[in-house]
Amino acid sequence: MNIFVLVKRTFDTEEKIVVTGGAIQEDGAEFIINPYDEYAIEEAIQVRDAQGGEVTVVTLGGEDAEKQLRTALAMGADKAVLINTEDDLDELDQFSAAYILAEYLKDKEADLILGGNVAIDGGSGQVGPRVAELLGINYVTTITKLEIDGKTVKIVRDVEGDSEVLEAELPLLVTAQQGLNEPRYPSLPGIMKAKKKPLEELELDDLDIDEDDVKAKTTTVEIYLPAQKVAGRVLEGDLSDQVKELVSLLHSEAKVV
């Protein structure tokens, strides 16, 4: 089975986000594999261990992302590919990411492609489905269970807290939801072995992509932090007056009744 996992390097969930000059400050911040992509990597390793084959992890970005690829290799992936867009593109959006990934994947004869349901930074959840569309294969998002029997794949997916059971055929792209599995920690021997595993670096030229064709189709207008939460108001006075005031506030200020 030829398995690919789409991985994104994201901010550590424990980092405090600082915005200055309309941009998120990255200096000194810790970066991790997008947590939903970790489920995808774990699932890919489990599928490979059960069915045989090979797991390749792919990411887009700069050289910094090598660390996340090494982590995936230490978990047990076989090969890693960094498509380095640092020099060619200032900004990537879902369109550009999906286009580049699809160009890379189109002649790879992938049986199964996995990704995270969303990235915890951008949170669009678009790249996986867009890649599948471009490759002309089926896709299922937010999966919590995956069973492969020959070409048939039985899937449970999370639909707003409920479960939907469906069947699909390989080749297939799926995106992972929390609950799919418990991602392993990179083991000590795994980390040592990861140093010797192949990590290929490609640029847009290597994929015959013209940078004008993958220019972002969206522009970021503004980046700001959510408004600071202010303390609640405590009503005082006679109980019946408090009730009246509460109702009027819910009506006029909170506008919920």
Binding site: R70, Y185, P186, P189, M192
Partner: protein
Amino acid sequence: MDFKLPEDIEFLKQSIRDFVDNEVDPLAMEIEEKDEIPEKIMNMSMEMGLFGLSIPEEYGGVGIGMVGKCAIYEELGRTHNGYTTVIGAHTGIGSVGIVEMGNSEQKKKYLPPMARGEMIGAFALTEPSAGSHATNLKTTAVRKGDKYILNGSKHYITNAPIADIFTVMAVTDPSKGAKGITSFIVEKDFPGFTVGKKEKKMGLHGSHSAEIFFEDCEVPVENVLGQEGQGYVNALKILANGRAGLAARNLGSCDKLLEMSIQHANTRIQFGKPIFEQQIIQHYLADMALDIEALRSMTYRVAWMVDQEMKVIKEAAMVKLLGSEVYNRVADKAVQIHGGIGYIAEYPVERFYRDARITKIYEGTSEIQKNIIAAQLKHEYL
């Protein structure tokens, strides 16, 4: 001169940090109360490859040097010391003998299952009459055909209740003193070998020590570790090798105590302000940080020396001594900064304080380390 850890060692360290913080530390109170390591933690530790820390890659271990081992021990030291001791006694004195002195048959037979954690190792030198006076062993080994017959007993043997193999020192020639001691690899199922009941200890809960007994215990000749008569030298080498590792474990515990003390000092309000604002508390914290920094520098320098295959008898004794003395000083100050809550068993500071005490005693007391240092000084200067 480069004081930075190599990138791959940082990677190993981070992985163990995540594992310890997310999986082990939340169960520290349970380990303390039940006096056992949950099976889940033992199994996960095996999957992480922790049991193969000292074992070369070709035998299924991690295959890293002393600097790498110390980096990992430092992370393990940040959590429950009983857990750390189960791992440390196996990866340190429990397996180093076979790694360093074993022949290739012994390595092939024992190291792969030890690396997987399916076979747990222990080190058996101490006897009721041979503590610091380690050459005063009463356990004897008499050769009879292709076997040695062992008789005697040993006590305070860490990991004995869970261990599968023991590196045992016994007297083969009483007329030769220290040179009449031989080391053996003894399997728990060898006829005539038994393990006594667990000893109740002040700390290190979850890590168990026990007496072991040899009654006409039959050990095949091929299980002699190294040469006959080399046992005492072997024991000293095994102990010396472990000393930087012990210091690294203490370093991790100290670091955790400092972290907790700073956080407590910053949130505990007395006299209308955080106690951190009191100069005396600042001085306590500064003293702790100073001690820790000195210990860190020395630990990694000795580890580096081990990796360069330099002679480290004096330095290993120094770092073992500094590590345990610093740990006790830091734990004492941490309890003082925490005040009443530092004495309450529901809070980890009290546990670290009790666990610190043994480090001045086991694997060579602080006093013995000073003897070793002085003996080396005499050798160097006179």
